[in-house]
């Protein structure tokens, strides 16, 4: 085309690119959505389960700690039994007098007792004796217990026997306990070996009194001495005397520690150390808040950590407590691990599936592209010979004398069919070009009506062949800028449609007009036929590529289904619109209205573009 023409090329980008980007996005969503859902559910489930496990664990831990407590209670009960026996022996041995000498001998032999006191029924202190010199220990004891012994009423209110709930004692601990009991009995029996024991009668006595001992008031008292909690067991003997045994608190702790398992380390005590112990630590904390003993696994180190569970111990160890520390919950870890593995597997599966789908999809896209390219190339290959055919037909028409009507007619048919074919090819090429690089428009100066007349002239013979008459009323005679090729192509398509589908309509009306100012001049062209028309439902689909109206309409009619779509794309590229107008009620036919922006003057300074040469482009 001419170089002095001012041109610009608005482009409508083809939708293909966005489709290409949309597909992976869609696939990603397909993968991500179930994953997210599953993650959410999984995490919720896991958290719930964690709570349940934590609850169960805390129950378990509480049970365990309570079983330890009841073990301690059992220890106190054993001590109680022993003290009751020993008190009986003391009483019988001294005929109720509790001579200082025999009480001292008893203290000297009993490893668990630190000191003994005896109050008479009237509340007077009988031991440590108030009328005899005392040894240092007794003096200290009297000093310490002055307040305690001042009100003997304390020793009239029995406290319930310390007995742990037997059901709570776990098997592990009870087995340990049994061993401890045995060893305790062993040491008992050793200390009472007849050879060394000054009182051979103790055993015999204890056995006999065990059965017949009437239930006398007795109880445990815990009181704060200077060094900490002190435990005292008291009971009233048959004469109303109160006999009190103050425990050696260091020895008591030592015994309690021996009731508790030692830590693993060498794996010797594997029966005692269960799996739960491996990951946790239990601490025995005394009334001053100090750790008296701890056992368990090695995982816990920090002191700042909060205990998972604490259980206060029962009387007479009140204000002591057991604290359970755990590093973390092993069960839950495996749960999370399972969830993560599941999610990873699912993600991998879905990704693979998505990738396969994507590959399949892009292969199809490629194949479709190849097919389009093929059609494109074929069309291109057809174009050149067809141009020649048309050229030579025209040349022959001019050369041929007028008196050969048959030949003239035949040539006319050849010419019009070749024209139709070339329009078809033009459509295909334009379509594929539009898909590839968008629609471009080249503005040229001209008169709209002139171009319409050309097209009408070109179509007249064709339409006449179908018994259609074109009625053209042109009112767009202003000089303006527009793309004549685009206009021609749009009109070609519209008129081809009339030829194909509206043959019984007799007329095809074309009217044109222009509106607006010089730089915003718009040209309108209306093409109306009187054929069967288009239903409202179809009116939008009509412009979609490859859509061809209803079956009865298209039956026996050839067509590619790209014409109207292309026409609309061209109109839009031309800053215009192609619409199907609703037809008036009692008429039939399709009314297409084409609107084009056809400015009378055009902005200059646009870079000149080399005229579009399709052969080069392809």
């Amino acid at each position: 085309m001419a170089g002095d023409e001012e041109c610009f090329y608005p482009r409508v980008m083809p939708p293909e690119g966005s489709v290409k980007r949309r597909t992976p996005l869609l696939l990603a969503i397909i993968i991500a959505l179930p994953l997210l859902l599953l993650t959410w559910f999984g995490v919720r489930l896991q958290l719930d389960q964690q709570q349940v496990v934590a609850h169960q664990l805390s129950n378990l831990v509480t049970g365990r700690l309570q079983s330890i407590d009841s073990q301690f209670q059992e220890h106190f009960f054993m001590l109680q039994q022993r003290f009751m026996r020993e008190a009986d022996v003391l009483q019988q041995e001294t005929a109720g007098q509790y001579t200082a000498e025999s009480v001292r001998r008893f203290i000297g032999q009993s490893a668990v007792v630190k000191q003994v006191f005896i109050l008479s029924a009237a509340g007077d202190r009988r031991f440590p004796p108030s009328d005899q010199p005392l040894n240092q220990q007794e003096q200290n004891f009297v000093e310490l217990t002055r307040n305690l012994l001042r009100d003997p009423e304390r020793f009239t209110m029995p406290t319930p026997d310390p007995v742990g709930a037997p059901g709570v004692v776990s098997e592990d601990y009870s087995s340990v306990n049994k061993r401890e009991l045995q060893s305790a009995r062993l040491s008992d029996s050793i200390s009472q070996k007849p050879r060394y024991s000054p009182d051979i009668s103790i055993q015999a006595l204890s056995e006999s009194t065990d059965l017949s001992a009437p239930e006398r008031p007795h109880g445990w008292i815990a009181w704060y001495a200077e060094t900490g909690l002190q435990q005292i067991f008291w009971l009233q003997d048959a004469n109303g005397n109160t006999v009190g045994f103050a425990l050696n608190s260091a020895r008591l702790l030592s015994d309690l520690i021996n009731l508790l398992p030692s830590s693993s380390g060498t794996g010797v005590d594997t029966t005692v150390v269960t799996e739960l112990d491996m990951n946790s630590e239990i601490r025995l904390v005394n009334d001053r808040g100090e750790v008296a003993y701890s056992w368990g696994g090695d995982l816990v180190t920090g002191n700042a950590q909060k205990p998972l569970q604490t259980v206060p111990l029962s009387h007479p160890l009140a204000s002591w407590h057991l604290a359970y520390y755990a590093a973390e919950l092993p069960v839950v870890i495996t749960g999370w691990l399972g969830l993560i593995v599941l999610l990873v597997l699912l993600a991998a599966g879905l990704s693979t599936l998505g990738y396969l789908l994507y590959r399949e999809h892009s292969r199809e896209l490629r194949e479709a592209e190849q097919r389009v390219n093929f059609v494109n190339q074929v069309s291109h290959e057809l174009k050149t010979p067809l141009t020649n055919v048309r050229l030579y037909t025209e040349m022959l028409e001019q050369e041929l004398a007028d008196d050969e009507p048959v030949a003239q007619r035949y040539l006319g048919v050849i010419g019009s069919e070749a024209g139709r074919l070339s329009r078809l090819i033009e459509n295909v090429l334009s379509f594929s070009r539009a898909k590839r690089e968008g629609v471009s428009v080249r503005y040229q100066q001209g008169i709209i009506d002139g171009y319409i007349s050309q097209v009408v002239e070109l179509f007249t013979p064709v339409l006449n062949g179908r018994n259609l008459k074109i009625r053209f009323s042109g009112n767009a005679s202003q000089l303006c800028h527009f793309d004549s090729e685009a206009l021609e192509q749009i009109l070609n398509n519209l008129l081809s449609n009339c030829e194909k589908y509206a043959a019984e309509g007799e007329f095809v009306d074309i009217s044109s007009w222009q509106e607006g100012e010089t730089d915003r001049l718009c040209s309108y062209i209306r093409v109306s036929d009187f054929g069967p028309g288009v239903s409202a439902a179809e009116s939008e689909k009509l412009f979609e590529p490859f859509y061809r109206g209803s079956d009865e309409l298209t039956e026996g009619v050839s067509g590619t289904g790209i014409g109207l779509g292309l026409a609309r794309d061209l109109a839009r590229a031309h800053q215009g619109e192609l619409t199907l107008e609703a037809c008036p009620p009692d008429t039939s036919g399709a009314h297409f209205l084409l609107k084009l922006a056809t400015p009378a003057t055009v902005l200059t300074g646009r870079p000149d573009r080399k005229p579009d040469d399709e052969t080069e482009e392809l």
Partner: protein
């Protein structure tokens, strides 16, 4: 004829043998008995004035007849494996324990307990048959963590209780190089535990390693249960200390020794030097957990004697001793008394003086001074502490001169050295441990 004279000869020989055997009998019997000696340092006292007198009550374990016939031991070795033991200390401790156990055989029961913040029973109480397994278990002990000393001793004692018997030497051997920081940690609490264990016939020997341990706690624990105590500065010396200790353990001949001293005729007990004792009125009682073969253990009783006329003989105290003889497996009793004579003659008084007993008494008194000095130093009263030791030195010096005793002279020098050492701030920690250990050894006549 011949046959008759032969018969005569035979009879005579048999009779001679019989006599010999008969005369040996009391000796043999004697050989298996503990020797009780009561020595009054001043058997003759000046008349017409009151006196402070020292009475030495000593017991000597009889000789073990036969090395093979020793008393079976029931030993729990309690090893500190806290973080501070890391490195060669724990290595030496392990080897020392293993070497010591090598002296035991299948009559004996051994257990090994280790403790850091927790307690592990490394070897539960077991008869020493498969020594290799025991050694391997000991070699697995690695140092780490804190010091749960109380629990360690408790578990050690508990292992002993599985085979506890009065016919065995029941002993916990505790090795520690640090302060107890898990569980009870005061000297008094550990002392209480020791006293309780002693009532069961268990004694605790404490070995302090390095300069980081609490010597008060360790000596109290040992003192209340009548075990030994040693201060080992270098871990290399652990092996020899363990050897000594096991030597002691394997030479025990008597256990559960109760000494009861009753003062008569207006004599008042003042104090019993060296050991924990109970004084009620005129009655003084103390207790030794065991007597070792051929080792003399003694206590010094200081009494106040009222003034007497000249030429009066006065019974000051009567002594009763009860003990379990591990060989005869019987409880045996010994008794004796101490009688003083009063005279106006200074010469007589001096001539009768029992130098040995007095020397022992002076030693114990000086030992008490030394204890007081530590106490004073602990309260920060450096001057007083120093003065006490100087007093002690001059006391030792004057006594050494009058008794002509090189031993006391040595101790005088020692006391002066100690007085100097008090001032040094940086070496006091070590000095204190040495002093404590020395005092303990003197007071209990520990063999090593």
């Amino acid at each position: 004829m011949n046959t008759q004279s032969d018969k005569h000869m035979l009879r005579r020989t048999i009779r001679t043998f019989g006599f010999v055997l008969l005369s040996l009998l009391p000796v043999l019997a004697q050989a298996n008995q503990v020797n009780l000696n009561i020595n009054l340092a001043t058997p003759v006292m000046e008349a017409e004035r009151s006196h402070r007198a020292f009475i030495k009550v000593s017991l000597e374990g009889f000789k073990q007849q036969d090395k093979q016939a020793r008393i079976p031991a029931n030993v729990a070795i309690v090893l500190d494996k806290s973080g501070s033991m890391r490195g060669e200390k724990i290595q030496y401790a392990r080897e020392a324990a293993i070497m010591a156990i090598q002296r035991l055989d299948e009559r004996d029961v051994v257990s090994v307990v280790s403790y850091d913040s927790r307690v592990q029973v490394v070897v539960p109480a077991t008869q020493v048959r498969d020594q290799r397994a025991i050694y391997n278990a000991i070699r697995d002990v690695r140092a780490d963590g804190n010091t749960a000393l109380f629990a360690g001793v408790s578990k050690g004692a508990n292992e002993l209780r599985k085979f506890l018997s009065r016919n065995k030497v029941n002993r916990v051997i505790l090795l520690s190089d640090g302060l107890a920081n898990v569980g009870p940690q005061s000297a008094s609490e550990l002392g209480e535990l020791g006293a309780s264990l002693a009532k069961e016939g268990i004694s605790v020997t404490t070995i302090g390693l390095g300069v980081g341990y609490n010597e008060d706690l360790m000596t109290r624990l040992a003192g209340f249960s009548d075990g030994n105590h040693a201060f080992v500065e270098n871990a290399e010396d652990l092996a020899s200390v363990f050897q000594y200790e096991f030597g002691d353990v394997l030479s025990v001949v008597a256990q559960g020794v109760n000494i009861e001293i009753n003062c008569r005729n207006g004599v008042k007990p003042v104090r019993l030097l060296g050991r924990e004792s109970e004084i009620i009125g005129n009655r003084v009682t103390t207790r030794l957990n065991q007597l070792y073969s051929e080792q003399e253990k003694f206590v010094i009783l200081e009494v106040e004697v009222p003034e007497q006329q000249a030429e009066v003989e006065l019974e000051l105290v009567t002594v009763n001793v009860q003990y379990d003889n591990l060989f005869t497996q019987h409880q045996e009793q010994l008794s004796g008394q101490s009688i003083a004579r009063f005279s106006r003659s200074q010469q007589e008084v001096r001539a009768a003086r029992d130098d040995k007993a007095l020397e022992a008494a002076v030693e114990q008194v000086a030992n008490e001074y030394s204890r007081d000095a530590i106490e004073a130093r602990d309260t920060g009263d450096l001057e007083r502490a120093k003065k006490i030791l100087q007093d002690s030195a001059s006391y030792l010096g004057s006594q050494a001169e009058s008794l002509n005793s090189p031993r006391l002279q040595e101790q005088e020098a020692e006391a002066l050295q100690d007085a100097d050492a008090l001032e040094s701030e940086q070496s006091w920690n070590k000095q204190r441990k040495e002093l404590k250990a020395r005092q303990y050894k003197r007071a209990t006549q520990q063999a090593y």
